[in-house]
Assembly symmetry: C2
């Protein structure tokens, strides 16, 4: 629908690697829209994605607990924000926070029973949408897409690594 724009760019800038540029745009577009869709779903439950992600990580952690520091790593959030997320989730009774017994500098964050119930209630309504997204995709296509995305992710990792060094 707005593919035309990029075509005109190509005329103006012949060095541009066309197909790759188009793929970038596609990835950014599709990724952005999925992100929006997720945000919207979460908004209806008064949650934001970083909070939900934190909750999911706790849910899927073996013992349902973690520490702010760990959660910062997993969610790639800053510690300032993690504290805020903790506050929000505690206020809603979805997690509990307390001092660790072994190392009392640490705060141990644990998902509550209500938190688990909440996750189990949240997820199923998301599935139909997820399935509709990939409607018409054969198993082969799904695994192709998965493979290509992983390949792309790997290249991005490499680029980041080079950048860092």
């Amino acid at each position: 629908m707005m593919d035309e724009g990029i075509e005109r760019m190509l005329e103006a800038i012949p060095q541009l690697p066309v197909e790759q540029a188009r793929l970038c745009r596609l990835m950014l577009m599709v990724g952005g829209r999925m992100d929006e869709a997720l945000d919207e779903k979460l908004k209806s439950q008064q949650l934001i994605d970083s909070e939900f992600l934190t909750l999911l990580i706790l849910y899927s952690s073996p013992d349902g607990s973690s520490t702010p520091g760990e959660l910062c790593e997993f969610t790639s959030q800053g510690s300032t924000n993690m504290t805020r997320i903790g506050n929000a989730l505690v206020k809603r009774g979805l997690i509990s926070r307390g001092a660790s017994a072994e190392d009392r500098r640490r705060v141990v964050i644990r998902i509550t029973a209500a938190g688990r119930r909440f996750v189990l209630k949240m997820l199923p309504p998301m599935f139909p949408r997820v399935e509709a997204m990939f409607a018409g995709f054969s198993a082969t296509e799904r695994s192709q897409l998965s493979r290509l995305l992983r390949k792309l992710a790997k290249n991005l990792d490499q680029l980041d690594a080079e950048n860092a060094s």
Copy 2:
């Protein structure tokens, strides 16, 4: 690297359409990282993505001009934000703003020569990165990815349309 988390979710919630959920996560992850990478590049030029996008649209418009209203549509930004973007780009001399001759309610925004030079200076440094992203992709793989992403985009369109109606 953090695929384990989702595996544990699957044990807890057997109805979950595994492959699709994984694809979602992949898309969100890869899309997010590309977005970050773009933001970073732009940040080094003191630009934000909505400003850059606006500039690109102007660049690739046949006569290099548009109106705030149109740009709102194309960039899916609100009018408030579009005004702000205009202010920023005018201040940097990349666009000009003036009243339209035909309809004087309209403001006509036009990319300046400096704006065009800026775009032409900005884009080339992005190409190597773009090419590195798709390193190791054969032409077949690129067109496969493109096809699958378009298919996905189409499904998303349909979902949005159903939602709206």
